[in-house]
């Protein structure tokens, strides 16, 4: 039965007189029975031009009798969003696993010669964003799926504190995501400007399905796609999240519902994308994690995956075997190895 079921029934039954006199024009013959409130109920249900209404009670939308966005929100959340989000978030890891089993990791034969790839601030910014992202994803997904996964398993009394903790933690860490996102954006955007070869890279699927490794600069097409998705969806997430953090500043419930819809969708898309990113950074491609951990990568790794960048580094004479002491220079914040400073 439809949500409003009984309610509509009641309203309609009660107002049968109004319903009879839908058309305001009196009949030409017979007795015209004037209708006490012809347009009233249309207004109540917000059909056609809603009438301005008033109330003594102060509060968000308190002068509105029926909020039509509410039912759309329920429908979206219960009939669509939660289900498709579950499919997506369960499906992507399965696909990745299958890919890994068929394709295996991309191997690296270390040359022992290192290149500086990410300086200290690059790495701190990246891991700050990653930490906050993972925490927000974990707590957010608990709020989204907990009722269907954890409640049947642990019960309501156990889930309630978990959900409360998730909500408070999520609300508090949210703004930090925006801070970290802006930091990462500013530090990495110059290296992520799109180029023609990135499109070629994407069309060739990064060379994952055989063939020569397509050409790539500092970042390849896939990495740039991830960067820009993160920027766009991350901003949407942050803005909608901030509105949800301060619901008292929202002008209407419609906008809050819209924010929840956008927030949920963007979050699920980013989490699904992040699975791929995490796979490529760890198990998928040998030698990649080192770049974000220590700041240096093996020269062979660079030649394999980022040939243009590698060529540039060679041209500029940056390729050198980093000794223990030189490795410590990865702490410099300028992105370059500065000579004469240890």
């Amino acid at each position: 039965m439809n949500a409003y079921g009984l309610l509509w029934g009641l309203l309609l039954a009660l107002l049968s007189t109004a319903a009879q006199a839908q058309n305001d024009t009196p009949p030409q013959s017979g007795i015209w029975i004037p209708n006490p409130g012809a347009d009233l109920w249309k207004a109540v249900r917000q059909r056609g031009q809603p009438e301005p209404s008033t109330t003594q009670v102060q509060g968000l939308d308190s002068n509105q009798l029926i909020n039509v966005a509410g039912e759309k929100f329920r429908d979206w959340r219960r009939e669509r969003f939660i289900r498709y989000a579950a499919y997506l978030l369960a499906g992507v890891p399965v696909v990745i696993l299958l890919f890994h089993m068929l394709h295996g990791a991309m191997k690296l034969e270390p040359s022992g010669r290192k290149l500086l790839r990410f300086d200290l601030y690059d790495r701190v910014a990246h891991w700050l964003l990653a930490t906050v992202f993972l925490f927000l994803a974990f707590t957010g997904l608990l709020l989204l799926f907990g009722r269907f996964v954890i409640v049947p398993w642990l019960g309501l009394d156990a889930f309630s504190p978990i959900a409360s903790a998730s909500k408070e933690g999520h609300n508090l860490f949210g703004p930090l995501f925006l801070v970290a996102l802006l930091w990462v954006f500013l530090r990495f955007v110059a290296r992520n400007l799109p180029a023609w070869r990135d499109i070629v890279w994407l069309l060739k699927g990064g060379g994952a399905f055989g063939g020569k490794h397509p050409s790539a600069g500092f970042f390849n097409g896939g990495e740039k796609l991830w960067f820009w998705s993160l920027a766009v969806f991350g901003l949407l997430l942050s803005l909608s999240g901030l509105l949800l953090d301060f619901p008292s500043y929202a002008p209407s419930r419609e906008l809050l519902v819209l924010a929840l819809v956008v927030h949920g969708a963007a979050a699920v898309i980013l989490v699904a994308f992040s699975f791929g990113h995490i796979y490529m950074g760890t198990a998928g491609v040998e030698g990649t994690l080192e770049g974000m951990r220590d700041g240096t990568v093996d020269a062979n790794w660079a030649r394999q995956h980022h040939d243009q960048w590698y060529a540039e580094m060679v041209r500029e004479g940056r390729l050198e075997a980093l000794s223990e002491a030189q490795e410590n220079r990865a702490e410099t914040t300028t992105g370059q190895l500065e000579e004469g400073r240890t």
Binding site: L120, Y121, R123, V124, W127, L128, T131, V132, S160, P161, S164, A165, S166, K167, E168, G169, L172, F173, P175, L176, V179, R293, D294, G295, E327, N328, A330, E331, T333
Partner: protein
């Protein structure tokens, strides 16, 4: 005795005792160790030097500022945020009144409390990430440093999770981690909250007497 009663009762007494006695004992030992007699001819007063040492070190010395930018920003975010949280968050003020001092003071409004928490989390995360990602600090960090960072983070995190103040379980979890923190405190790097005064003053006095300007 239930876990809840243990955490709320005896364990708190133990933690408070260990904390107070431990901190007092460590400070007394440090002070009682005394100073080596300085036979040099005093070039200027040691008291002024001590004060300069304590106050002046709040800013990095010239030349270091650029290299320490992250430390400076994150360090201040974390310490100021934590200080505001610890002493001026409404739930803490209530706690001090009910369980410790019997009186209270004006707490921060809720939004300022949250802002302080944001600053503290951001600062601590950046400091710890820097610790593990910077090859130099990674090399000189040992388990004690990481334990202190992680424990502090857990105290803050459980506190943040209990923000709704509606679930006893969450409050107890926070309280339990705080008790662990307090027991660990006197025997760890966390003592720097007190000893930084001693070391800065001692070094400042030494420099002052020798007429060294930092």
């Amino acid at each position: 005795m239930t876990v809840a009663e243990l955490v709320d009762g005896p364990l708190w007494t133990v933690a408070l005792t260990v904390f107070v006695a431990g901190v007092a004992w460590r400070l007394l030992v440090l002070i009682a160790t005394g100073w080596k007699r300085d036979l040099s001819h005093p070039r200027s007063g040691s008291l002024g030097g001590a004060i300069r040492g304590v106050v002046g070190r709040f800013l990095p010395s010239q030349g270091m500022a650029g290299r320490l930018r992250l430390h400076l920003v994150a360090g201040y975010l974390f310490h100021l945020g934590l200080f505001a949280l610890l002493f001026f968050a409404a739930p803490h003020v209530d706690f001090y009144r009910d369980r410790l001092f019997g009186f209270d003071w004006t707490p921060l409004p809720h939004w300022a409390f949250i802002l302080a928490a944001e600053a503290a989390f951001l600062g601590l995360l950046m400091l710890w990430l820097n610790r593990v990602l910077n090859p130099v600090t990674r090399l000189i960090s040992e388990s004690g440093d990481h334990a202190a960072s992680v424990l502090t983070f857990l105290v803050m995190l459980t506190g943040c999770l209990a923000l709704a103040r509606s679930h006893e379980t969450l409050r107890l979890l926070h309280f339990f981690v705080v008790e662990l923190f307090m027991i660990y405190f006197p025997f760890s790097r966390l003592m720097h909250s007190f000893t930084f005064l001693l070391s800065r003053a001692a070094q400042g006095a030494h420099y002052g007497r020798r007429g060294v300007r930092v």
